[in-house]
Symmetry: C3
Subunit: 340 residues, 3 copies
């Protein structure tokens, strides 16, 4: 049961309806009319709730769960406790997401512009926009339809954002052009000067940063993440990227479509990710590299060379995964043999 | 001498009084009435000041110090310069803390609600609260007694905080329930969506995040730290935890009582820390793990497996400390022998 | 061509003028009067633009560039395409910076104090200052001449800043004394309590943090970076330092002049950097260390011991660079030989 101070629920829905909207199959059609009122985690779900199993680590919780229904992969369906309704699908997490969206549709925050928002008269604002008290829109800002600008967010001079965007509290955007359906979480800092200066023994000379940050459609950017604008080229975040909290993106970086950067990753200047690259938490990628499509970078890895398409690299310095694990294994064996 | 623009001092106090309030023993009772006016670091302390020695690295500074008095462990007391008053205790840092609190009691910021704070009429505010200009309290927010909400802090819809809390400037809380005596420093972002989506080649589908962040009593959370709310379960920060700056806590994480997370640590989703776990700076802990009570995780370590109670692990991937140092030692020896 | 929503350009200038102001030499004096209207990256530059080549990785782009002129090192000048004007210098990046400053002088933001800024009546403000809507200046704050305080920035009680400073949106300063020509980017949190407490099984006792942060002249501090104030001594950032985004600086740390800390570096309490130390991205430096002048710390390194002047260290734990690469090389060879 969600906390009513924060969430408002739709429903209830029948199992048949949930199976249909999620693209899964109801394993026992006699349960089609069973009413489900909410989603809940396995360990907490009751007979009125639907849950999901997506990670083998939680099979025991699944077996012991009191959930009225569950979304599950066919391989694990036979582990279900008796009486549980099952929606079977090869993608249980995705199916669960669709069901959860039915109960908790993306909040259509009430439109309205707070009289306590600080809006420059030259700003252009679309229809059905929500702008909260304390938000700041500077000169020449453009905001599309149905956007939600939270308290304390700052859109600096000339920033433009498309339709259906969410800008979290105290996020700061400058020198930035944002597409549609972009979510930027609290405290993200986007578009400030890149770390550009000519080092020298008599002092470091700042290099003017003259590009922008371009964020394409359907991107999510985590809390307190930082993205520097380009030095001359733009910094580009490709369509559908998912960037977690406290990530650092240097100037001129380009991310292709659908890249996933887990928390605390750092990408140095001018590096280019192709489409669907995944970087694990705290990984660091040196500047001026090319990371091929579908490459995967292990958590905490330090990438110092280009990575070919589809390759998985791990370690610091990062090497192909197989090589990494061979080194780790050998180190363990040798330490046992030679160790004092 | 502290900077009077920032600090107001109490006192002076006699050495006898300081020994008593700190639980230490005055090594030379004839000094009981010596008046001490301030605390100061060893290298800067004068005859009116009391200092402390807690780290053997600073024994030389201790020997050379002009401090009128010092808090010190019995093992090091004989290194004191002549004439220095000594308060001897097995916990000098703790004793020093109590003395410093006497000279600089936690600032009872003057109560009062700024007319320039942006407070929704439905917010409920306790007694003797200080709310500064530019702070934002949204609909349904509840604030306990004697809280201090700094300029630019944002408490979003439905957030509740207990008594005696401090919310730093530009911190953002959403979907969060906070206990008593909690300190949240500037820029922390707490309660935003976790990093939840079903990955897929046609795009990543966002999974609604339906839990909360629950912060128990007596917790301190560092500047620009990020804590995502639970996906269905809550994210829980246990009583007495100390979390440093720029730490990332993923959705559904649970920290037990008294855990210490040093700066830039990252904890991935659904991992559970038992009580009194310590994680060194920049350590990363993978998701869905169990870390036993009293476990210690070395700085920069990458933890990929459960850690049993009381164990110390180091390295990336992390292994028990003894094994780690054996590997490091062997690597050094081999490189000397075989190296080009 | 820069985006006119964000940038206003000066010029055009002749090649002779650009050569003179940048200290470079025009390789073909017959081109002295060629008019150049803008700076641009090699791949995008046209006949009216000047570009630069500073990294051998981009020699191909240089050879194929349509730029009317380029700043280049003498060693690479002969790779230029025919007809390109060349300004030759041993420091092309620095020369380019000077040229870019000519086209895009540091924005003299229009002076003026927004009536929507929240300024305590006891604050003292210099001449020609710009303070934006939503900025907060608390009691006793002092701001020098020609400063620019952005929307949402908070200067807490007693903070003072010198002349020609820039304080980005939603940055927070407390217990801090700032020199002249200091740039602090969006969301930086400076001066909060250090991570000081006496650990104990019955709870961790907070130690009052009684120092300040002192930031000397000509310093740049990145977005969402955190700098804790001293515990008793001050935390000091030396003249000319460049600190990137998401860096953590613990209490009592002292940085000498001209240090460079790349993104996500963490420096633990009481460590001292001498002048011109460089720390690569995500490096971590343990507390109470001394890092000698000109030392270089590799990205992701974990420094656990003092580093002598001029030494380069890499790895976690960090060792001298030569030793590190010898270990890495040996590990690779052994894994190939012994690996399964």
């Amino acid at each position: 049961m969600t906390d009513s101070r924060f969430y408002r629920r739709q429903g209830p829905f029948t199992l048949a309806h949930l199976a249909e909207l999620s693209g899964g199959e109801l394993s026992d059609p006699s349960m089609a009319e069973r009413l489900i009122t909410d989603v809940a985690p396995l360990y907490r779900a009751s007979a009125d709730d639907i849950s999901f199993l997506d990670n083998r680590k939680y099979v025991q919780a699944f077996e012991a769960s009191g959930a009225g229904a569950c979304v599950v992969h066919p391989d694990l369906a036979d582990r279900a406790p008796e009486g549980m309704g099952l929606i079977v699908t090869s993608e249980p997490y995705r199916a669960y997401a669709m069901i959860a969206h039915a109960y908790y549709p993306q909040s259509n925050a009430e439109a309205g512009i707070s009289p306590q928002a600080l809006i420059d008269p030259t700003a252009k604002i679309g229809a059905d926009v929500r702008i909260e008290a304390g938000a700041v829109l500077c000169a020449g800002v453009e905001v599309g339809d149905r956007c939600h600008i939270c308290a304390g967010a700052v859109l600096r001079d000339g920033v433009s954002i498309g339709d259906d965007c969410y800008i979290g509290s105290n996020a700061v955007l400058s020198y930035t052009v944002v597409g549609n359906k972009v979510w930027i979480h609290a405290g993200a800092a986007i578009g400030q000067d890149g770390f550009g200066f000519a080092m020298g023994p008599k002092g470091h000379l700042k290099v003017p940063q003259l590009g922008r940050v371009v964020i394409q459609d359907d991107v999510e950017i985590g809390a307190n993440t930082t993205i520097d604008r380009g030095a001359g080229p733009d910094t580009v975040i490709g369509e559908g990227c998912r960037i977690d909290n406290l990530v650092q993106i240097g100037h001129n970086v380009e991310l292709g479509r659908g890249c996933v950067l887990v928390a605390q990753v750092g990408v140095s200047g001018s590096t280019r990710f192709s489409d669907f690259v995944v970087a694990g938490g705290q990984a660091g990628i040196t500047g001026h590299l090319k990371i091929g499509p579908g490459a995967r970078i292990g958590a905490q890895s330090g990438v110092m060379r280009d990575v070919p398409a589809g390759q998985t690299v791990i370690g610091s310095p990062a090497v192909p995964a197989k090589e990494h694990w061979r080194q780790i294994g050998m180190l363990e064996r040798l330490a046992k043999k030679h160790g004092a």
